[in-house]
Symmetry: C2
Amino acid sequence: MTVTSSLTKITRQTAEPLRDQILQRCRLMLMGGHVVPGQKLPLRPLAEEFNTSLMPVRDALNRLVADGALELSSSRTIRVPKMSEERLFELHEIRRSLEGLAAEYATPLLSNAAIDRLVQLIDEMAKALKAEDYDRYIQSHYSFHFTIYAAAGRPTLMGIIDMLWLQVGPWFRQGIERANAMSGNPNATHEKVVAALRARDPVATRTSIEQDVFAGLECLRKGSWQ
Amino acid sequence: MTVTSSLTKITRQTAEPLRDQILQRCRLMLMGGHVVPGQKLPLRPLAEEFNTSLMPVRDALNRLVADGALELSSSRTIRVPKMSEERLFELHEIRRSLEGLAAEYATPLLSNAAIDRLVQLIDEMAKALKAEDYDRYIQSHYSFHFTIYAAAGRPTLMGIIDMLWLQVGPWFRQGIERANAMSGNPNATHEKVVAALRARDPVATRTSIEQDVFAGLECLRKGSWQ
DNA sequence: ATATTAAAATTGTGATAACAAAATCACCAT
DNA sequence: ATGGTGATTTTGTTATCACAATTTTAATAT
């Protein structure tokens, strides 16, 4: 039995440290929901799957612990955190505040071409939902939001938002899957965001992003996140 | 020549990892402004000063890099970041947003005893300024703010705020020293915060904390942060 | 069957060593 | 003095190993 499913080996590329390659892999696993809350991530089995020594795995996982995406249990084993209703709520409060801020700043700065791309991404999300291709949905959804946040030109702010997404990641997929089954429309708020951006109305953009974040919270809190 | 001034050695305590002890030391150095922006922090000399091997130092410093408190230069040496006016502004935007949020939530939760303690801390800050004891000022100032934020009962939010303070730390001291020389009164906003808390007025608390954050920014941006 | 306990395996932490890349220094020519 | 050039040192990264603590497993007694 492997720690994670289907990991291809890490190969030594000049310049890029193994640690960073492993970190990127782990980030994708978390963001994509390919990981079970509460699951242990022991260093040695992971290192064996990646075909490296302990050290780069240790570095990558410690980084994710620092970001709150993983946690050190009482006995120091590294685990995917479980979610409490309080933590879920808190994460979305912070998300609302910071993503609203980023969206507001992005409003005058986003190019028309970028806004067109947002429309494409909304379409892609809808298609992915219909096809129940949740990996693609999650990818498009991430692109939609971070296309906006990147335009704000606030690297530290974007880093923190990214950190928050990483913490919500493991629960996002199941929330989307359930919402899709219940035939809700997770794209309604996205269209409001685009409309506000088109109108170049910073406050409206902020408000619609805030609504989107809280719609996402509702989506998640209806399920079992234990 | 040593990397940092006057570091006592780290001794192996059962239970607490060396990494965490070193991390705590480095955090105090950064928060206290006992570190020069742009300064290199090479692993081996630091490990020698702490009397440990590379590994726990490496872990602690990598953690601080993850938090944005230190940076990896192009050639991978770890350094105390320099500050640009943009980054300073961005950090304070985020601080305003999140510390305002935390203060608002703390308003109904802070005990009367805690509010009394805040008044004591304001007094302590004033005395420390008069005595030009900036270490004590920084300590009291930190306690003042985080007594409030801790009461909000939002651990993730507090962690992010703490991370932001760590990033501003190296410039905070010189800002305070200069403001003190110019005989400004950095405590005026603190008294407004206490008044708002006494009145149990969440919006007023938020507003006064936001004002305090931006007063702090003004304090810093007047100087040379390069 | 169930609880207890001891042995075995597994875990993260930390030390040491090897390595390549980068930075530094010394030396020399101009 | 100044600029270049090669040798030396210093750097972070990674591998390997030792260790104590925890977890798991297995055996035993009730």
